[in-house]
């Protein structure tokens, strides 16, 4: 039991050691990159900006006109 706990703790420590070594970027920089991504993709975002025309919305209620 104890040996298993030690083995478990070893794995956790290894993980922490790996995590400590990963490269990091400043928050200011990552946030700017994220904001640019959102701005670049805003035009494709129908939930954010709506549809250019409601006719393009496949989920809208069909207007109740009959076929002549």
């Amino acid at each position: 039991m104890m040996a298993a706990n030690i083995q478990q703790q070893r794995i956790i420590n290894e993980q922490l050691r790996r995590e400590a070594e990963i490269p990091r970027i400043r928050v200011s920089e990552t946030c700017r990159i994220m904001m640019k991504y959102m701005a670049d993709h805003a035009n494709d975002d129908c939930l954010l900006n709506g549809f250019p025309s409601q006719n393009l919305n496949p989920f809208r209620e069909k207007s109740s006109c009959s076929v002549l």
Partner: protein, 352 residues
């Protein structure tokens, strides 16, 4: 020998624990060094999102118990749902018609997922198994089902990484597992969480080798699928993490928790960069998803509402009312035109 050994073992354990504490301290120090500004302060100069025109469009009725999970088809039109009633239903979300219904020999089907081809669905729950159904006629679906993998506790989530050939699952046994669909072979198992795994999501931009998991141990882990190792770990939540989702850029993850907050963790800064909470929100979050640009964060709550958050400003934009019980799942359609929400009120709603 028998007298000295326990002491040695205890010494070893305590020195390992001490080292772990040091490593955690160092890790936090390193993260803090690069925490030069907050996301919301950078986003301050951006214009506020004044108005979002999202309306309730469809109500999908047919389940006889709580809806637990939904998934959009790659065709952006169909939705599969799984329920406490033991049924899977495939819906045409345009017309609200039920196209297929399959009854499983279990209740509480907690997870369902479309294969990338749209020709198969994977599902499971309290049966501890992940089962694959081909999408054909109802009779054939039941006959041609195949059990791919089995956990030692309930299966809470499943997802196809890359192809129809593999399925990634998360379980109440606190592990995740990668299965080969054809052979049912366990390709890789992912040990690290100390609580039930509640949610997984695949990184969008890479070659499909990274995924994130959220757990009742309050942590979110980033995993390397090939090595089976944790690459990054994020803590901050005060309770179970019920939902995890990659930002469409692939550089951040959002989490939803029983502590009634959502959080945004940036992977390159290796830290939390935003918290989405309000004093008036006291109910847990069951599910989160982003709009296609990543600017909007949708979150489904136990108070029957869906909240829309501005990812950048950490401000709530509006609420979506309609469900009459807990909102268990929210998902933006693959092309970003609609949001589906599933609830314990037995219905699925589509908003657009």
């Amino acid at each position: 020998m028998s007298e000295t050994q326990p002491t040695n073992v205890n010494d070893k354990m305590s020195s390992l624990m001490k080292e772990a504490e040091c490593l955690k301290f160092k890790l936090e120090e390193e993260r803090q060094k690069l925490n030069d500004v907050s996301l919301s302060s950078i986003a301050e100069r951006l214009e506020q999102i004044a108005f979002v025109n999202i309306k309730p469009r469809k109500v999908l009725k047919g389940h006889q118990a709580k809806v637990l999970c939904t998934d959009w088809s790659p065709d952006k039109r169909h939705i599969i749902s799984s329920s406490q009633d033991g049924r899977l239903i495939i819906w045409d979300a345009f017309t609200t018609n039920k196209e297929h219904a399959v009854t499983m020999p279990t209740t509480w089907i907690m997870a369902c997922a479309y294969a990338p081809s749209g020709n198969y669905v994977a599902c499971g729950g309290l049966d501890n198994k992940v089962t694959v159904y081909p999408i054909t006629s109802d009779e054939e679906m039941a006959v041609k089902k195949r059990t791919v993998g089995t956990h030692t506790s309930y299966m809470s989530c499943c997802i196809y990484p890359n192809s129809d050939q593999q399925i990634l699952t998360g379980s109440g046994d606190s592990t995740c597992a990668l299965w080969d669909v054809e052979s049912g072979q366990l390709l890789q198992s992912f040990h690290g969480h100390s609580g039930d795994v509640m949610a997984i999501d695949l990184a969008p931009n890479e070659t499909g080798n990274t995924f994130v998991s959220g757990s009742c141990d309050r942590m979110a882990f980033i995993w390397d699928m090939r090595s089976g190792q944790v690459v990054q770990s994020f803590e901050g939540h005060q309770s179970d993490v019920n939902s995890v989702k990659f930002h469409p850029s692939g550089d951040a993850i959002a989490t939803g928790s029983d502590d009634s907050s959502c959080r945004l963790f940036d992977m390159r800064a290796d830290r939390e960069v935003a918290v989405f909470s309000k004093e008036s929100i006291i109910f847990g979050v069951n599910s989160v998803d982003f709009s296609v640009s990543g600017r909007l964060l949708f979150a489904g709550y136990n108070d029957y509402t869906v909240n829309l958050w501005d990812t950048l400003k950490s401000e709530r934009i509006c609420l979506l009312y309609g469900h009459e019980n807990k909102v268990s799942c929210v998902q933006v359609s693959p092309d970003g035109t609609a949001l589906s929400t599933g609830s314990w009120d037995y219905t699925i709603r589509v908003w657009a």
